[in-house]
Amino acid sequence: MADKSFVGGIREPRQGLVRVIRRGRSGWGGGRVALERSEVSPKLAPHFGFRLSEAERRGGGHFRGTRGRGGGKMAAPLELRCWGGGWGLPSVHSESLVVLAYAKFSGAPLKVSVIDNTWRGSRGDVPILTSEDNIVSQPAKILNFLRKQKYNADYQLSAKQGADTLAYIALLEEKLLPAVLHTFWIENDNYFTVTKPWFASRIPFPLSLILPGRMSKRALNRILLTKGEPPHYHLKEVEAQIYRDAKECLNLLSNRLGTSQFFFGNTPTTLDAYVFGFVAPLYKVHFPKVQLQEHVKQLSNLCRFCDDILSCYFRISLAGFSPAGQDTVDANLQKLTQLVNKESNLIEKMDDNLRQSPQLPPRKLPTLKLTTADEESNSFQPLSP
């Protein structure tokens, strides 16, 4: 039962641990992940990963991946520069959110530096990943770079699912992105009351007058050039068209997601990162003009999807853990999680027994309290009868 991991009181999906068996394990020869031949064509493989052999899955690493253990090529520290968060999201900017989500899914240790209103660091073309002397700038390229560094969230996918991922990402960029851009940057009410003040507050003074305007113009440009062809000469007609497309796209995504937890089974992949990155800002940020948000709220499985990812993967970063000090914390955390898991299993059994035979509780409870006292789990609440 060692694969369950309980982090900060929130249960992770079962395969959470499997994903992070990674580099730096001296037993596996210099940090290289042993590859199994799969039916993935060799050319597609670098993009969508490979299957890990069974032995590695059972290895049981830590949640955060092993760092500095034994030999093996250790990644240079990866630093991501992106826009900050608000309204419960780690980042309000879609592309930054995609990269953050992917990093969490694949276990990549990213040091996130949020853009604030000091003059440090670059501001254009965000999100930017720097590692040693590589600077990578767009989300697709950043994800490729992370995959090459063996932080791969897609290794469980078959080749066909990998192809589906590409197709759905194209659909998102073509149909949903214009509407997201429009909601944030072009719709006047939204832009002047929410977007511009938020971004301006994070940019130092003289630039804060210029940069939001520039971003808005770039968004408008993109929409008009890709969607605003004749006979849609007027922005209003383009708007109607792009919102229609976006609603259709959201419906398609909702149909595809159905009732499963993530798009391809129980582990999140690149597609989940992209969908989360585009849909979550629409869902969470409070806008005055909310037609697309209303539509998203009607699709309850998409809302559930976003909420799940937020609660499972982003609670820690909001609590302020830095990736650097995680090693000792991880060890304790793992012990804690195992204990708490044992407790919760006991609880479930108790629960079942309770329901079946009501006269049992008085005898069972003292045993329960005893085991609780023995262990160190202080985050655990005893079950009240």
């Binding site: 064509s41 006979p231 398609l252 995504l253 595809r256």
Partner: protein
Amino acid sequence: MDPGRVSHPMSSPSPCSKAETDEEIAFRRATEPWPEDATLYQQLKGEQILLSDNASSLAVQAFLQMCELPIKVVCRANAEYMSPSGKVPFIHVGNQVVSELGPIVQFVKAKGHSLSDGLDEVQKAEMKAYMELVNNMLLTAELYLQWCDEATVGEITHSRYGFPYPWPLNHILAYQKQWEVKRKMKAIGWGNKTLDQVLEDVDQCCQALSQRLGTQPYFFNKQPTELDALVFGHLFTILTTQLTSDELSDKEPGEKRKTTYFVLGSEWLHL
């Protein structure tokens, strides 16, 4: 759903694709039959048409053939300007003019012919996603290759694009179009891509399509759909067009499945 960039004489609400009964389809076919003199307009085949336009035109022709609707292809030098949306190809049916594959598919559906009725919702979503993938990657790569790659532009594109016009109009129009395309590339983030990166993207796209196709004859079930028409149009054009660099067509072969698919597709057009 967008009823196509055209004004319908009968402004019917967008057809719901779910519960189309046979009687309804038969009714639609009876009231708005496909005329015998439907024509498809594109640019001059031998001297003027460019890679991307040729691909789109072939895709539409293949689609109409698959629906068994007769269409006549007419080549006009100013087809691009005749089109209601500025893109070729466009079809002229009865008293309506519809351009581009997407609206044409919807228009044909409104007339009661459809290739994708047999698909369920998830498959339809997949089909739409793959069509977007082809448009996003293959079409954009073709545009990039013919307008942003200096070698191709100088040798082929400029002379072909400006073919029907006298000097200096041919140069001016060609430069104007090039500037427009470059602007669009920059807006969607392709402005900084090198040729190698573009070819890598094409490769990835073809791999994805190849994986999806597997060993089946068509992408969905045993019947061709509009996705098959679209992919066929692009593949055929890429494989049979001579460019200065053969890199684009080099990416395609070696995929046995796609070659058989492509052979099947050419049967449709009796090429």
